[in-house]
């Protein structure tokens, strides 16, 4: 009998090895087809009409000119006269035409009249936001903050903040929709292939189209990034289907870059005034914070700080400022980068005030990190060794002559990452071929590959011996890829399904090997007797014995399924950054980043490493460049484009070195998600490194030259 548990390290042939993603050649050769690439015959192109105002009431909509424009086949309204729009870029209408250009021209012929209403788009603190524009949360306290500050011998005070950024997916949101009778096929760029039925059914019914979720077919083989912004099909996803129905032709509706940046992604800002106190020996005793931030008109959650360090006495308030900008969406580790930034920078400032090396300071207080204290300790020490912390760290302010100053900074982070619930089907065919299918999705992270690795490992086959099928509602449903839940979800469901299928096969093969199934194993392309490899038949021979009917097994993954022992949750990580700063120009360069991470059992060390590389790159971008810039005078976003919405390019990213903690103590926890945690720390680590280099804190991200020079007192924002 094959055992469900993960094999011990000595018996792993694929798990944990460095394996290239199986869809790599497909992507690098350009044959991978994204939603954007789908061009069914008769395709129409749709363009949206969106609100130019941050807040307004619609007083008239006239689509007649657009309807009669050349090439136009259908017009759809997202809203109606009398309704309000609450941010620039909000969808009002969509037009489908024979060509993209005709659709664009026709969209401009839709006449919408508005009465402008008061708006707030500036990322401002509650006292400036004006009454009614914010929601204050009640104060939360722990211990006795007043007494805590009395005990404190050193108190550091500061203001810290990071702005709204957008998800800025390389592939914008959207889909191609095609009807086939009552059936609807959508090629949707989504993080949630299996979870769209309800939304389409509801959306289409609202548009007067009778539709049952069982008639929805979603196909998403590859997608160009979601980062938490692509769980929903969104109104524009449904609109593509409505337009396709009206026109009787397939419709492609992908957001233009500006709309993408205006409404399809928003990581809330967070700013705070923080006081934090310690005893002279570095023992943390008290914290006080007043924080605020904006995530659009609907606000967002309350990010609790201090992050990770459970300081015995604290008081904190947080206010959600409501602004007329595109609504918040989950951004890779929702709220964690913000909480981490505000906490780790304030703590590093305190360490500086104490005259302590922040590494020693963090280690001194490591018990406050709770159950994962040992992990953090080991991870900090590991990172310190890799970056040469003890040799290179210096007290604040690099004293080297010249304008280039170097510095080191650190941060730690955490995340849950429990595998989601989902189903996988493993089919073993009589010819020995194997198909593993689940309605999951590969966001570019390597999901397809880890499914293949787990199935092949379980069946004792090479990776090429299994065919992985995902990204389609015709397969057993899987959960949404959010919360770093995918790797745990799909590896547990796959392991359960493949083990079950294998056991069925072993039962069929055992008699011919003159033994019972419990004495058999699958390894190296054979079915063989455990402990006596000479008694073996090849995989193909074994499968030939099953008769004409394939073996099919379905496995359930996630913490409620039988595979719950294969996964767990809760990771830690430590990152250290080395930067150089030109103190005469304020230009910061991320020179090197060391990212140490635990995530339980690593299935593919290569794609796992790539996840961390990507996170460090994304983190460098928000630390140094990214910012959604709103103009309160006009209510307009000033940078809804890739010119002024700045991301780093290859020359802007320094060395990134990744290390996974894979001792048995970490691995025995089973598989835990990884997509989010490594993006939490870079802002804090890089900011701390800049403070270490130049001797002062640059309080706000991104650390652009103006802000760095302002912190240095050499000019900057007035």
């Amino acid at each position: 009998m094959a055992d469900l548990q993960w094999p011990p390290a000595a018996n792993r042939h694929l798990i944990g090895k460095s394996i290239s993603r199986i869809d790599g050649p497909w992507k690098s050769s350009g044959t991978a087809k994204y939603s954007y690439d789908m061009n069914p015959p008769g395709l129409l192109y749709a363009k949206m009409v969106t609100s130019p105002y941050a807040h307004a009431k619609i007083t008239a909509i006239d689509t007649s000119a657009a309807e009669h424009a050349p090439g136009v086949h259908a017009v759809h309204l997202f809203t109606a006269v009398g309704k309000e729009v609450t941010c620039e870029g909000q969808e009002v209408a969509a037009v489908a035409a024979d060509t993209e250009e005709q659709a664009e021209d026709a969209a401009r012929l839709v006449r919408v009249e508005y009465d402008e209403l008061p708006y707030l788009v500036a990322d401002t603190d509650p006292t400036h936001a004006g009454a009614g524009n914010f929601r204050q949360n009640s104060e939360e306290t722990q211990g006795n903050p007043t007494q805590g500050f009395q005990q404190a011998e050193v108190v550091s005070e500061g203001e810290y903040g990071l702005p709204v950024i957008t998800h800025c997916c390389m592939e914008s949101h959207g889909s191609v929709a095609q009807w086939d009778g009552d059936k609807l096929n959508v090629w949707l760029s989504t993080q949630n292939v299996s979870g769209q039925g309800g939304e389409y059914a509801q959306g289409l019914s609202n548009a007067g189209i009778n539709f049952s979720a069982s008639n929805l077919h979603v196909d998403c083989q590859v997608m160009g990034g979601g980062f938490g912004s692509k769980f929903s099909a969104d109104t524009w996803g449904v609109a593509a289907a409505v337009l396709a129905k009206k026109a009787g032709r397939p419709v492609k509706l992908m957001l233009d870059r500006n709309v993408e940046l205006l409404v399809a992604g928003c990581r809330p800002s967070m700013h705070g005034k923080i006081r934090v106190g310690a005893k002279r020996d570095g023992t943390l005793v008290a914290w006080e914070s007043q924080s605020w931030g904006t995530g659009g008109v609907r606000g967002f959650g309350v990010p609790p700080i201090p992050y990770i360090f459970d300081i015995p006495n604290y008081s904190r308030t947080h206010a959600n400022v409501l602004t007329n900008i595109g609504a918040a969406r989950a951004w890779r580790a929702p709220n964690h980068p913000q909480m981490c930034y505000l906490t780790m920078t304030a703590l590093e400032d305190l360490a500086a005030k104490l005259g302590m090396d922040p590494l020693d300071f963090f280690l001194k207080n490591i018990a406050l990190t709770g159950e994962r204290a040992d992990y953090y300790k080991q991870e900090l020490q590991q990172a310190a060794e890799m970056i040469g912390w003890k040799q290179k760290w210096h007290p604040r302010g690099d004293k080297t002559p010249g304008s280039i100053k170097r510095g080191l900074g650190l941060s730690i982070h955490t995340w849950g990452g429990a595998g989601h619930q989902g189903f996988c089907r493993t089919t073993i065919h009589p010819d020995g071929s194997v198909e593993v299918a689940t309605g999951s999705q590969d966001l570019g992270t390597g999901t397809r590959t880890v499914i293949g690795i787990v199935a092949a490992e379980t069946l004792g086959l090479p990776l090429e011996g299994v065919q992985v099928e995902i990204g389609d509602t015709k397969y057993p449903p899987d959960g949404a890829s959010g919360g770093s839940s995918t790797v745990g979800g799909v590896t547990s469901s796959t392991r359960v399904a493949a083990t079950d299928a294998l056991n069925q096969l072993l039962a069929k093969v055992a008699p011919s090997l003159g033994t019972t199934p419990d004495k058999l194993e699958a390894a190296q392309g054979q079915i063989r007797v455990i402990g006596d490899p000479s008694k073996a038949i090849s995989w193909k021979q074994a499968c030939a014995k099953m008769g004409a009917t394939p073996i099919v097994a379905q496995g359930q993954g996630g913490s409620r399924g039988p595979g719950r022992a294969l996964i767990s949750a809760g990771v830690g990580g430590a990152q250290m950054a080395e930067v150089s700063v030109d103190v005469d120009t304020g230009v910061v360069r991320m020179e090197k980043m060391v990212a140490v991470q635990d995530c339980g059992l690593v299935i593919d060390s290569k794609t796992a490493e790539s996840q961390v590389f990507g996170a460090c790159i994304m983190g460098t971008c928000y630390a140094l460049h990214e910012e959604k810039i709103m103009d309160q005078q006009t209510g307009t976003c000033l940078n809804p484009n890739m010119e002024f919405y700045k991301l780093g390019g290859i020359d802007d990213i320094g060395d990134i070195v990744v290390h996974f903690m894979t001792d048995p103590m970490y691995e025995n926890r089973g598989v835990i998600g990884l997509g989010e945690p490594p993006v939490v720390s870079p802002g804090a680590a890089i900011s701390n490194a800049v403070a270490n280099a130049i001797g002062v804190r640059v309080p706000e991200l991104p650390m652009t030259p103006d802000r760095v020079l302002a912190a240095l007192g050499k000019g900057g924002q007035a």
Binding site: D105, T585, H625, Q633, K646, L647, D651, D652, Q717
Partner: protein, 326 residues
Amino acid sequence: MRPFEYGNPSTVAQAVALLGPQWDEAAVLAGGTDLLSLMKDYIVSPKRLVNIKNIRALGGVREEKAGLRIGAAVTLEELYEHPGPLGRYPALRTAIEGVSSPQMRGMGTVGGDLLQRPRCWYFRNGFGLLARNAKGQPLVPGGDNRYHAIFANSGPAYFVCPSSLAPALVTLGASVRLEGPKGARELPVAQLFQIPKDANEREHAIAPQEILAEILIPASAASTRNATYEVRERQFMDWPLATASVALRLEGREVRQAQIVLGEVAPTPWRAEAAERELAGKTLDEAAAARAGEAATQGAHPLSRNGYKVQLVRVAVQRALLAAIA
């Protein structure tokens, strides 16, 4: 983008004949890297495009007695492939290298770089070159002006000249030849740029019916020590935050004459005359470079959010001067 006519002439005269007396009638299409984005965003909507890439007379890089002649339709990459002459004009070479995208260097032309429209985000978001709201009030002073001008910014213009080749060419004393219905005229590159006085004027002193045909860097510039220093927030596809281009005539280490031109800080390439005066007759060393950098900031009036550019000017001038004598 609005539908437009497309003209594909093979001579300058034909091209000129296809242009119109108003800007919205026709536009010259060189590499199109700027023009097409402006059209797609409906910022400009000319009724006709006149492609100049097939006009032989606008191509080629030639070294002549008078100096280096660069056809206006020469791409940045083609020009870059003349290391010989560019070796004498490091001020220009550095500026070209700064346009760090190979695609952009491959498509963008020298003429197009000089005549590219400002990057001001109010302009690019449809608020007009002078960035005004519907009531005609200027948006830049009370808005986000982090990338705007610190010189000559008392209105009506607040944008900065985006070309980083322009300051280099101005320091080198380059001139341009313009061809129009009434024939050709020559202008120093410095005079190709103007500060618009009202919404009807453009930032270039070229008429709607004129074509920029050629850029001439005088032979005398080759005997200057010249350099450019650019301050960039990121290396990847971006315009600089501030630049300084310098050309020096030295006797030993003593400066006989200095040309110092700043980029990205004013609506035109900006001569730092006080810095030029400061240097004249002085021995150029670190201290003199720093004094010149300080002098270059004279007359700067930062807006609410661009005070840092004053510091960038200081440093860019100092570093360009030191690079020129390195």
